[in-house]
Homo-oligomer: 335 residues x 2
Amino acid sequence: MGVGRITIEDVAAAAGVSRQTVTRAMNGMPEISARTRELVLRTAAELGYRPSRFASNLAARRKSRSVGLVLGSLRNPYYTELAAELLDVVAPRGWHVLMASREQGDDVELVAALSGQADAIVGYFTGDETALVTAARGVPLIQVERAATVPGLHAVVLDFDAAIEALLGELRDRGARRFGLIESGGPPGEEGAGAYRPTRRRRAYERFADSDSAGRVVVADESIRGGADGLARLRAAHPGVDTVLVFNDLMAMGAMQQAQLDGVAVPGDLRVVGVDGLSLGAVMTPPLSTLSIDRRAVATEAADIVGTLLDRAEPPPHPPVVRTVTPRPLWRESA
Amino acid sequence: MGVGRITIEDVAAAAGVSRQTVTRAMNGMPEISARTRELVLRTAAELGYRPSRFASNLAARRKSRSVGLVLGSLRNPYYTELAAELLDVVAPRGWHVLMASREQGDDVELVAALSGQADAIVGYFTGDETALVTAARGVPLIQVERAATVPGLHAVVLDFDAAIEALLGELRDRGARRFGLIESGGPPGEEGAGAYRPTRRRRAYERFADSDSAGRVVVADESIRGGADGLARLRAAHPGVDTVLVFNDLMAMGAMQQAQLDGVAVPGDLRVVGVDGLSLGAVMTPPLSTLSIDRRAVATEAADIVGTLLDRAEPPPHPPVVRTVTPRPLWRESA
DNA sequence: TTGAAAGCGCTAACAG
DNA sequence: CTGTTAGCGCTTTCAA
């Protein structure tokens, strides 16, 4: 690296052999005598030779594929379980996964950084679509949750409208009457950016809840603490709420903790429902009911879009490819 | 791409300009007229030109660094929080992180696959050290938890001897007398491999517990269910146990759940202590006491080793560089 | 503002 | 078994 990188040429010269012989030794190829191989390996080690992965990938015309993955956070199991699923899905195809998290920086910057290393980028984006596509420099972007409207951008949409309508219906069947929502105000620490915009989950809630319930919304930090805090504020402002829908499971866990602290029985006094379907929710007391997002399906669809796009003969940017996954209620005991 | 990849040359020909002009347009360089740039960009899009990241990295002599990260599982927050910390630590230096999980395959295979893409690989390895170093083909390996004994391998060691000795002492001060251990038998699904080997945590436990306690060990699946199952078996075999140390927090959560099912009060009837220090433990009822591993410190040390090694002028393989992190008890309420 | 030449470091294909 | 010859696809000089 930098000045005077040790190249295959240096090793060849030092060992008194040809470049090709060095290649054969380094890559454990067969057509070489044990002695020569050992000699080469030793001198390579002595010189500190480290092959350039760029040169070797280029020369070998390998088309090792790697997909970038931009997550909202690595501290929320929802995202990491999605990563786990994506890894499971792409590993058999021999693809690599490059991780990035929005905690590290801006959407667009991350995409720009990854675009030089990845053949496609899937992720949770919040930035401007055009800016994202520009930053991607031709690398296809697969956006999860949000729809895609510009060429070069594709999507695995989560249909929260259908899901939340169904959920509220089932909750009413179970006796729920006065709903409230704890909405996410974005990742912790990002407050003050003043950039709060209603999420699709909130919009779906407001659309399908009765009009009184639609007004009972508090915005809180997207974290366990935020959920606890949110519940405290929701109950203070709207004492009569009997059912609370929480932006995600992590926040719902905080809300449950807060309920316990306040002596509110769940689900007796208050039903709590999260969103995500984390397996950890089953360990709560009581186990958390949730609107479960099938992460395996999301990963499969995303990988499938990537595969389709990369194998396509026609020139990109391709018109948006969109798949839909609909979250489903997972009834445990908190509601 | 397979046959007939579209290269910069094709674009140049189609646009009637030189390769260099295409480069300038694609990379947003200044020395080009707006018209030409637009023309080039358009024909590039029409042809579906996608630059080869290998060629461009090679030619530009970029030394974009990427570190591979091999985790035990992406479904255990311990590992993903470690990943989060590592990302935080390396992102400012502009390094990328390539993820892999042992759930996808063998240690050695993963290292072999990553070695062509990463400049260093840090991870939780269980395979044979020599085999790992061979698979790494000169790429430095930084092993977490286990010590490193062969050149090319380095380590961030977790000092469980010191940690568990201290932990048991503090537990005795709190009145604990009859200890038991729920040990990991490895990742779920891997049973039958018959490859169980006592972990360093178990060995430390057996060394520092009284001899009766040292015998009270059950081996269970490394999962929430495994922890639940382990506690059931431990209590059946050794009814008098008043304190149980669990291999990790995830398993400890399962154990707590089982205790609740069985009507065993925690910590009144049974103290439960996990290992890892997951923040999620704080949401349990009661909050989980644990032997906390400072993941930020592990990530920092690992990144530091990587930085040192890659900037070193002397030839690798370097003699092992070893740093140590000592876990510390984090008292919440379960013990 | 544009183009021509000269590699980047490595491996495939072919000889010997 | 080993060496030679051509590139891989792009970016950097340096001229024009």
